[in-house]
Symmetry: D5
C-alpha cells in the first residue's frame, strides 16, 4: 500500500554540532536500511530545500507511523502524509 510523504527538516540553529552530526548519520543509516527492505521505494530531494518527497510501501497505517516516528530526525521534521491509490490510467497497474 503506497503513501506519499513530504518531510521538511527544521533542525534548531542552536543544536550542538556533534549531536546534529550524530542524528543526521543515524537518519541516513536508518533510511537506507528501510529502503533496502523495500518499504521506502522512492526518496527524492526537493530542489532548493532541506526536504524530501518519498513514497512508502507498507502494510498499514500503523506500520507507516511506526516507521516515520522511528526516524532519528522525526522530532525535527514537519511531515505530511497522503494516501495513494492505483490510477485507472496507469499502464503498470
Amino acid at each position: 500500500m503506497l503513501f506519499h510523504v513530504r518531510m521538511e527538516v527544521r533542525i534548531p540553529h542552536d543544536m550542538d554540532a556533534e549531536v546534529k552530526a550524530d542524528i543526521v548519520a543515524r537518519e541516513k543509516a536508518f533510511a537506507q536500511e528501510v529502503q533496502r527492505s523495500g518499504r521506502w521505494p522512492h526518496l527524492w530531494r526537493v530542489v532548493g530545500e532541506y526536504a524530501n518527497i518519498s513514497i512508502f510501501d507498507v502494510e498499514s497505517n500503523d506500520a507507516l507511523h511506526e516507521l516515520l516516528s522511528g526516524l532519528p530526525l522525526f522530532p525535527y521534521m514537519d511531515i505530511a502524509v497522503t494516501p495513494l491509490a492505483k490510477h485507472p490510467s496507469d499502464v503498470n497497474a
Copy 2:
C-alpha cells in the same frame, strides 16, 4: 531529470457529457502513450480526490511544459510542479 507534478481536475459541472467523455478518453490515451515512452514513470491517484500525483522524467523544463500543456484536460486542471534532485541517502542513486 525528475519532476513531481500534482494535478487536480476541475471539470465544470455544466460541461456537455459527450464532450467530457471525449476529453477524458483522449486524456487517458495520451497519458498511457507518454507513460509507455518512459517520460511519465509514475502516476498515482490521490485517495478521495479527482487528482493525481505523478513523476515525470524529461530532458528540460520546456519539454515538461510542452507535455503538460498538451494534456487534453490541461485547461481544466490545477497543476503544481516541483523539481526533484538526487537525495544523498538514496540507495539507488
Copy 3:
C-alpha cells in the same frame, strides 16, 4: 485500518431540483449501506456546515478510494483524507 475523512458538499446552485433530490437520496442509501457493512463506523455532521466528519475502516487505500469515488455526491464534494494509527494512550487499543 482507520481513516479520518472530512467531506464538504458543494452542489451547484443551478442544479435541477429533481436531479439534486435523486442524488441526495442515493447518497443517503449508499451511505447507510456502507455503514451497515461496518466500513463506515462513524458519521457526524459538522455544526453549521453542509459537511461531515467520518471514520472509515477499510482494508486498503485502494478500497477507500473506490468507496469514496462511488458516493453519488463525489463530484460535488471536497474531500480530505487523513490516515489514522493507534494512539499509545488509547485505553481500548
Copy 4:
C-alpha cells in the same frame, strides 16, 4: 454532546528531558483516566505527526474547556475544536 478535537504537540526542543518525561507521563495518565470516564470515547494518532484526533463527549462547552485546559500538555499544544451534530444519514443515530 460530541466535539471533534485535533491536538498538535509542540514541545520546545530545549525543554529539560526529565521535565518533559514527567509531563508526558502525567498526560498519558490523565488521558486514560478521562477515557475511562466515558468523556473521551475516541483517541487516534495522526500518521506521521506528533498529533491526535479525538472525540469528546461532554455536557457543555465549559466542561470541554475545563477538561482540555487541564491536560498537562495544554501549554504545548495547538488545539482546534469542532462541534459535531447528529448526521441525518447516521444509521446509529
Copy 5:
C-alpha cells in the same frame, strides 16, 4: 451554552430578484423570531461586508445545527462556529 458564529452571505449574482427578496425577507423574520426566543442574544453586522457575527445561546450542538440549517439563507452562507466558555476574568460570570 454560548457559541460564536460568523455568517458570510454569498447569494449567486444570477438569482432571480423576487426569489432573492423572498428569501431575504424570510431570513429576517426567522432571525427576529429566534432572537426574541432568547437563543440569538447578539447579532452584529461586520463593517464593509455582507456578513454578521452572532452569539447563540442554545442547549446543545444539535440544537445549534438545527437552528442554523433552518435559516432561509443557509444554502448561500459560509458559516464558522466557535464554542465559547466562561472566561476566568469575566466580572459577570
Copy 6:
C-alpha cells in the same frame, strides 16, 4: 461604538514563572476594571485555546488602541480587531 476583538495569548515558554504570574494577575485586574467601566461588555474564552473573543464599546479607534495596548499581556498577544455595525435584523437595535 462596538468592536469585535480576538486575542490569542503567546507567552514565551522560558518566561520566569514569577514574572508571568505578575503579568497575568495585572492583566486580570486591568480587564476587570475596564469591564466595570462598561467599555468591555463581553469577554469569552475560546474553548480549547488560551484565547478570548471580546466585544469593546469605545468612543473611537484611538480609544480602543490605547486600551488594548495598555493590557499587560499586549506584548504577548496576537490581536485581531473587527469593527461592528448595527444589523438591520437586530431586534434590539
Copy 7:
C-alpha cells in the same frame, strides 16, 4: 476617525455591458461625491489590479458601513476594513 479600506472589484464576466457601464458610472459619481464631502480623503489604485486602497474619515462604524454598503459596486466587491489610530511617531498628529 480613520479607517483603511481595501476594495477588490469582481464583476461577473457575464454581466450585461450596459448594466455594467451604468453601475461603474454611478460608482464613480458616488465616490467623487463622498470624496468632496471630506469623508473619503484618499483613494489609490493598486497597481496591476482592479482594486483600490482607500482611507475613510467617518464619525462611527455605523457611518462607515452605511457608506460602503451604499456603493453601487458593493455587491461585486471584496472589502476589508482596518481601523487606524494615531501613530506616536506621526509628526502631524
Copy 8:
C-alpha cells in the same frame, strides 16, 4: 525601474471560442509590441500553468498600471506586482 509581475490567466470556460481567439491574438501582439519597446525585458512561462512571470522596466507605478490594465487579457488575469531594487551582490549593478 524594475517590477516583477506574475500573471495567471483565468479565461471563463464558457467564453465564445472566436472571442477568446481574438483576445489571445491581440494580447500576443500587444505583448510583443511592449517587449520591443524595451519596457518588458523578460517574459517566461511558468511550467505547467497558464501563467507567466515577467520583468517590466518602466518609469513609474502609474506607467506600469496603465500598461498592465491595457493588456487585452487584463479582465481575465490575477496579477501580482513586486517592486524590485538593485541587489548589493549583483555584479552587473
Copy 9:
C-alpha cells in the same frame, strides 16, 4: 511615486531592555526626519497591533528600499510593499 507599506514589528522577547529602548528611540527620530522630508506623508497605527500602515512618496524602487532598510527596526519587522497608482475616480488627481 506612492507606495503603500505595512510594517509589523516583531522584537524578540529576550532583547536587552536598553538595546530595545535605543533602537525604538532611533526609529522614532529617523521616522520623523523622513516624514519632515516629505517622503513619508502618512503614518498610521493599526488598532490593536504593534504595526503601522504608511504611505511613502519616493522617486524610485531603489530609493524606497534604501529608506526602509535604513530603519533601525528593519531587522525586526515584516514589511509588505504595494505600489500605488492614480485612481481614475480620485477628485484630487
Copy 10:
C-alpha cells in the same frame, strides 16, 4: 534551462555578529562567482525585504540544488523554486 528562485533570509537574531559577518561575506563572494560563471544571470532585491528574486540558468535540477545548497546562507533561507519555460509570445525566444 531557467529557474525562478525566491530566497528569503532569516538569520537568527542571536547569531554572533562576527559569525554572521563572515557568512554574509562568503555568501556575497560565492554569489558573485556564480553570476560571473553565467549560471545566475539575474539577481534582484525585493523592496522592503531581506529577500531576493533570482533567475538561474543551469543544466539540470541536480545542478541547481547543488548550487543552492552550497550557498553559505542556505541553512538560514526559505527558498522557493519555480521552473520556467519559453513563452510563446517572447520576442527573443
